[in-house]
């Protein structure tokens, strides 16, 4: 499936900002199941410096700085991406999860040792006994890795309530475990903490999810949003993604923008600015299919607010502009 993604972030400041430095993880990388055909970031006002580098995890990081006084900042990332669904073996045919743990800790297995960083705690995913105990229920001895992880994903989907008001980015993992509420980012962290506790390598994926309007309705512009899920390393298969927010193995509708140990490594946009006072933020994301039949979305219709039709079951309502 081919998509065109528009991700617009706009800040409006109460007072002029004299200098601003930003780092963005907004350009989709090439992965096993994703090809990035084009990607560009436009910044308004014009940045005096705009550079790109590759970070530790292989993500494409954009740095830009605006050196003229401005009272609004708009960052528009536009990408065209082709995604294919992963081909997965029968879950029950995959290797027992402990064997993967052993390989990860075999000090003579160089490629695996290099990835051991994803088995370790990270700033937002500290060791969490609750998350480990929670995950361990699905990882009975000798259980095939894929089967166990799919089950874990499903349990998070069922046991945790999607509630955007319940957490902020500062909410620690332990609190999410306690209240069993959160958003996609929290669910990914819960799974990652559990899997790492078991000794497996797990990473955080940030990206987008295509949503479709209910049949017969027109898709609203800006209705999509950025999304996050987790990924598990299965030797011979590579990194396999899991979306606990939707209880689904990401297929053609999940577009990856960056991977890291946790959210902090892949923040879509972060920055430091001088001045500015208070500010307001608006984010709009559009994920549109490029195939003519599906992607030629009409103008913003007068259509009523469409409940996004999730590919599997209920996708939570998508709050905008947070």
């Amino acid at each position: 499936m081919r998509f065109r993604i528009n991700h617009v972030t706009r800040y409006e400041y109460a007072e002029p900002v004299s200098l601003c430095h930003s780092i963005a993880h907004l350009k989709p990388p090439q992965t096993a199941r994703q090809r990035c055909l084009s990607s560009q970031i436009r910044v308004d006002p014009w940045p005096a410096v705009h550079r790109e580098h590759e970070d530790f995890f292989g993500n494409r990081v954009s740095y830009f700085s605006i050196q003229q006084a401005h009272d609004a900042l708009e960052v528009r990332a536009q990408s065209e991406v082709e995604v294919v669904a992963p081909t997965l073996p029968q879950p029950e045919a995959t290797q027992p999860w402990e064997r993967i743990v052993d390989r990860l800790h075999d000090r003579y297995d160089e490629p695996m040792t290099d990835l051991r960083i994803f088995t370790l705690s990270s700033p937002l995913v500290p060791p969490d006994p609750d998350a480990l105990a929670y995950a361990a229920e699905s990882f009975s001895p000798g259980r095939p890795i894929l089967e166990a992880t799919v089950e874990l994903m499903g349990r998070i989907f069922r046991d945790f309530v999607y509630d955007p008001t319940s957490t902020t980015i500062a909410t620690p993992l332990a609190e999410v475990m306690e209240q069993r509420k959160g958003v996609c980012q929290d669910f990914a962290h819960v799974a990652i903490a559990g899997l790492r506790g078991l000794g497996l390598a797990s990473r955080y994926v940030s990206g987008y999810l295509e949503t479709l309007p209910p049949p017969g309705q027109v898709k609203l512009q800006g209705a999509d949003a950025s999304h996050a899920w987790f990924s598990v390393l299965i030797p011979n298969l590579g990194w396999i993604d899991f979306d606990p927010t939707n209880d689904q193995i990401p297929g053609e509708q999940h577009i990856t923008t960056a991977v890291g140990r946790d959210f902090q490594d892949v923040t879509p946009l972060r920055g430091i600015f001088y001045g500015g006072g208070t500010h307001e933020l608006r984010v709009a994301v559009d994920v549109n299919r490029v195939e003519p039949a599906v992607s030629e979305v009409a103008d913003v219709g007068e259509a009523p607010d469409p409940a996004p039709r999730p590919p599997t079951s209920a996708l939570p309502p998508q709050p905008q502009g947070r």
Binding site: T9, H53, F56, S65, R116, I169, H227
Partner: protein, 862 residues
Amino acid sequence: MSVPDLAPLLEQSGLVDAYTPLPERYDEMRTVEGEVRPHWQYVLDALRTLGPSGIEARWREATRMVRDNGVTYNLNAEPRGMSRPWELDLLPLLIRSEEWADLERGLIQRADLLNQILLDLYGPRRLIRSGLLPAELFDASPEYLLPCHGVEVAGHRPLIQYAADLTRTPDGHWRIIGDRTQSPLGFGYALENRVVLSRVLPSMFRDSHVHRLAGFFRSIRRTLTRLAPRRAEHARVVVLTPGPENEAYFEHAYLANYLGFTLVQGGDLSVRDGALWLRTLGRLERIDAVLRRVDDGWCDPLELREDSFLGVPGLVQAVRAGNLVIANALGSGILEHPALPAFLPSLCRELLGEELQIPDIPTWWCGDPDSLTRVLDRLDQLVIKPLNKRHGERCLFPETLDAPARAALLQAIRERPHSYIAQERVKTSTAPALIGQHLEPRPSVLRTFLTAEEDGYAVMPGGLGRVTPTNDAALNSNQLGGLAKDVWVVASEPERQESLLVTTEMHTPAVTQESEVSSRVADNLFWIGRYAERAEGLVRLLRITIFKLSERSDYAASTGDSCCLRSLLEALTNQTQSFPGFIGTGAAERLRNPVPEMLSLISDPARLGGLPQTLQALGQAAYSVRDRLSADTWRIVSDIEAHLGNLTHEAPGQLSLALDELDPLITSLVAFSALTQENMTHNEGWHFLEIGRRLERAASTASLLRSMLVPIAGEADENMVIEAVLGVTDSLITYRRRYRAGTRIGALLDLVFQDEGNPRALAYQLVQLERLVSELPRGDMAVGRTAVEKHVLKGLTGIRLAEIDSMVQPDKAGARRAALAAMLAELDRQSAAISDAITAQYFRHEEQPHSLLRRAAARGAS
């Protein structure tokens, strides 16, 4: 001193005879057999020759120098520790030059090794992939700064400065007990120790043929300018300090001064066009290299610790773009990982193909099964250190634990072996310390310093020795507590020719660039000028008031007619704005009995606007720009602080006693003014200091004249008023010489108000201000006069046009000089306006950077 003299002296008891080395420790001076090691003989003889009184005198001198030079180290960040003096032992630590040569080779090898490890960790990570360094130790360490991974390092030298702490095991072998790899502390203190000791014990120093330090500092300079990305000869280097609150701020300022670099804080810098710039008054100046004294995680809130205010947003990016070199490279803190020593022997073989020359204290990481077995086998000889101290775990000595505690420790290690390291317990060597008149063996640590050179590393020939303050205390590698020692590398053979030329070099920085003034520095200098003048004016006024009070011992009875005293007391309150004071409600009572209120003004450190607070503010402002003040000036600041200490610690109970303190204080304050006038280059920074002084003097003179001359005194009192004003303004002699007759208040006003040639007159202050502000840098856009210039001109013109004859006239009621009051009130407004305009134009610090983008934009919506 010649050798024959020594014979009888060696017979003397004291010094060495009572010196018994501690059991099971290597002693630097005495062998197990009780022999004095030969290289100590000369220094001991020299000390004997000095004798008790000589030692005492030298010790006093050293202490005085340390105090005068303001050498401080704020151990444990004590709140009042800012002025805690550095403690230096008179007796240096002596090391033979042959032995030193071995040490040097070992240290250079280690610096090379650490540099290579750093390059690998932030580059190919071969050591992690091959398992030579366990991923679980390094990849998860908060000191491993992933944003710095892949950043190209200038000259492949991330480790530019390095310090190693050493001690000896009982068999006399050197062991490394700690590495400092971020921004090694102490080489400034080492240099200052040397300066003090070589002056206090000049002949002993000269005759010992001590290796010199200056070359090492030249090497630091050379390396930084060589690695700087451009303009090698003109590279601008700054020393980045967290600020005056930092425990080692003295060293930051000292190094900046000595090396000729500008001392800056994060807020003085900003990143633009992918490069680093210093914000000076109205200009930006490109910076090529940073000698950082800020821990790496705090250096860039954009990519590293977001909550840091000590760094510069975008700094990592400036390095990544190749526009800046930072010493040491960001991320080098990972080398201080406590488990690293466990892996160094194998890493040394792997990376350098050599054996590690100076071993560490034997260290094991329990996460390695073989190591764990060995650790559990010999637990009692070890100290167990948890790697993650966040959970409040401490280092434990299994030998000292009771059974349950021991079992708990064993269980914890077995459950989470990767979280512990074990280290052989060491008995550090001892060195003699001169305690009073005796030598005592004290556990000691030697900190050595290295700096990168074009092809390798240079070792400072000497270092920072530290001995414990008491016999059983421990020395911490993170802090520089304890009694400091200079370290002398002594040639066994005299090397006379070497020692001839170098003495002078030591105190002369190679090249000194006139460093630019940042807004923060200008602001501080301005306030130094104001506070110094404020303190001086206040002391003068206090002095005169005390004189006048004592002249009238029957004060209480004469309040009614003593308009002069009342005016003086009111002037005190008007000038200090320190209340309750002598105006407002209840003033009558305090006027009747003014002594307690005056004493409080003189000695109460808690009193707003009082003398102690003014002096304290002066000291603080001076401290935050201490790299701009000469050694002599700093000595005066130390004197002023000593007076402040005397005033507040033993608050005088009566005014005459206060006077004993105020007299020398005024001398110090005048000396301070004179030194800033005569010994400071009249550059931009000086202009701000001088403007502050002139402005303050104008304001306080206006206030004095208002308090004293606006009320009309009785005929009898007028003499006293005039005398008091002349006393405070130090113009009595001129007045007497110049005016024989005439209206006397008019003459006074002529002299202290309108005379542009009298340095104490109001007019003079404004004439000076006019010149000073015209020389300040102007914005590019400024056309015509700046706001500051306009206010100065207005004030000056007002004074010039004033008619003295009409100002001295009483108003209709006959009690006040209304015209004078109006004139002075207007001047008061102008001086406030000048101060505000200067602040607005020059000290407007750029806004604090914020990090808000992230919070909102970042959050995934689904």
